[in-house]
Amino acid sequence: MSKEVITGSEALMRSLHNEGVKTIFGYPGGAIMPVFDALYGYTRGEKKMFDHILVRHEQAAAHAAQGYARVSGDVGVCLVTSGPGATNTLTGIADAMMDSTPIVVIAGQVGVGALGTDAFQEVDLVGVAQPITKWAYQIRRPEDVAWAVSRAFYIARSGRPGPVVLDFPKNAQNHTCEWNPIKVDNVRSYNPYPAIDSSAIEEAAKLINGAKKPFALVGQGVELGNAQNELVEFLEKADIPAGRTLLGLSALPSDHPLDIGMLGMHGSYAANMKTQECDVLIAIGMRFSDRVTGLPSTYAKQAKIIHLDIDASEINKNIKADVAVLGNCKETLPAISSLLNENNHRAWRDSFKKYDDMETEKVIEPGIHPTEGPLLMGEVTHVVAEVTNGEAVLVNDVGQNQMISSRYFKFKNKRSIVTSGGFGTMGFGLPAAIGASFGAPERTICCFCGDGGLQMSIQEFGTIMEQQAPVKIILLNNNFLGNVRQWQDLMFNGRYSFTHMMNPHYQEISKAYNIPYDLVVDRKDLRSKVEKMISTKGPYFLECSIKENEDIVPMTLPGKSVDGMLLELDY
């Protein structure tokens, strides 16, 4: 029997369907029109296979795909045109690379015959995307579509996940080929799951069994490996207190007795101070980012370091490991746990309390339960966390809003934090929250933004309006680029070089987009207004009028050791 002959665009639709794609974030344009034409038939009627979410800017398509991927664990997909459509996604791609987020970006391209002629809307996408992708490939023939798409998804989701770019010239979209579905589940030059070295497991277990003051660092690798339960068993068996990285915040429930808070520049005081006291430091699926280590030459020098990671290139990259355990922590954690003695480190755990008490007294209580003065970011987060009972997904933008909401939000469930950690992309929050609302439609999505970051993606109010995406936008408005303002106060003698910002009338904007809006100025209204937001179906925009010059503390100043963390800033 002869095989069915179809266009490259049709092959793309079928290949995406075969990979389990249900939602696509995209924006049409000249060089991707044949694909959008094929998509038309598959987004409605009996043949419906996909929901296509029309964003208002291609960068938002990439961030939405990230948000979708982070909460669902599936690959996020975006579909854009060539040239500027493609380059607009680059920030999201770089962000996904930094934060190990599986997305596949499919971009139109001029026909193969026009490549290199500076044709209209031509850019060497593979060339510019290569350094910031796990894989970038140009599909030049329709018969390569099935293979390339399957390979793209396999690479994006396997091992340490990451972004993949498929550059799809127009001739390959239009030309026909025989339809041959292909499933790629092996690439010979790529080893996503390194073999587990039993001697490394034994060495790690031996060190942990001998430890008097063990300390674990929990990263996003635990979420990516779906090893949340294995983590808890590991920590509980050997009684190891654990700090969580920004991206690993929901890998361990925030009310777990062994949790001691967030790591990093604005993390918990105890987590930072005790890093310099522990005798064995166990890093699990984290990469020793400079925001976590502070000055690396002084970081945990007294400790033996065990580093569990799936990516061999992370070992000894930033911090030297005494024992490197390569592999998926879903497997390596239980392998180590099976060799661990049940242990009790009560005295060591209790010693954290001194620092917790200091932080509670100087930072947390005044931050979440102030009694006078303007609204503070911490109290807003605290109320939202209480009203949502730790069940919501936290999406945030970048800056003070990100640090505060990450510090004070509560997490009961896995995959509940969507943040731009490594790349620090302002404008990430709103589109990522839209994506998250499609990736986890049953969950409440709380999106904390500052006035700077919100305006970098404010066009996405259009997407929210059109899709009725149930995103709860909490704007912490201090009329400042607050984090830079804080650094200007600390390091530049308070010279506010372009950090004060004139804001639009947000209520008018909400009205124009038909998104319910409320404003909190008085502390006494905060809880009822948050409750109203959470109980209102669909999108909601809650503007909070925040103290203009609130600082984020505690803080480890850039280039300083983690035990130099400050509870108060003096400038």
Partner: protein, 180 residues
Amino acid sequence: MEKKLYTLLVYSENIAGILNQITAVFTRRQVNIESLNVSASSILNVHKYTITAWSDEEQINKITKAIEKKIDVVKADYYTDEQLFIHEVALFKISTPVLLDNPEVSRTIRRHDARMMEVNHTYSTVLLAGLTEDIADLFNKLNDFKCLLQYTRSGRIAVTRSFDEPISDFLHEQESKDND
């Protein structure tokens, strides 16, 4: 840490754009590539890159891992000179009148085991295959004789002291996985 000349041997699939990805790893860290040679390997569809760069071991280790992480790179390893059999090729274009005038020039060429490839009235071409130091030595001498018109040197090529390609075992393993 002490800087040394390291040689990287990188094996990749035969797919367009890989050289760009490999050199970008050096560019990002502002490490100069001293020499680069790309050729087929003894294994079908596997290409081999021989790259030299001055670096310390910590940095070259990170660079090697970052290269090996590229999806279509099969394997990357770094070596010091004593771990490899190394060769380079150089071509020297020299002035024939000086060559005829000064008998030391041809003696020097012979002493280096270099070969005369072409001689005409105006210029002669000399080929030398050997180690980096031999080539540098001949270059310096010919330069001193003031007869050098043009000079070029190939990138280093190298084979390891292991029996077959360092990736042969790896590829066999991968193939047996495919057959499972």
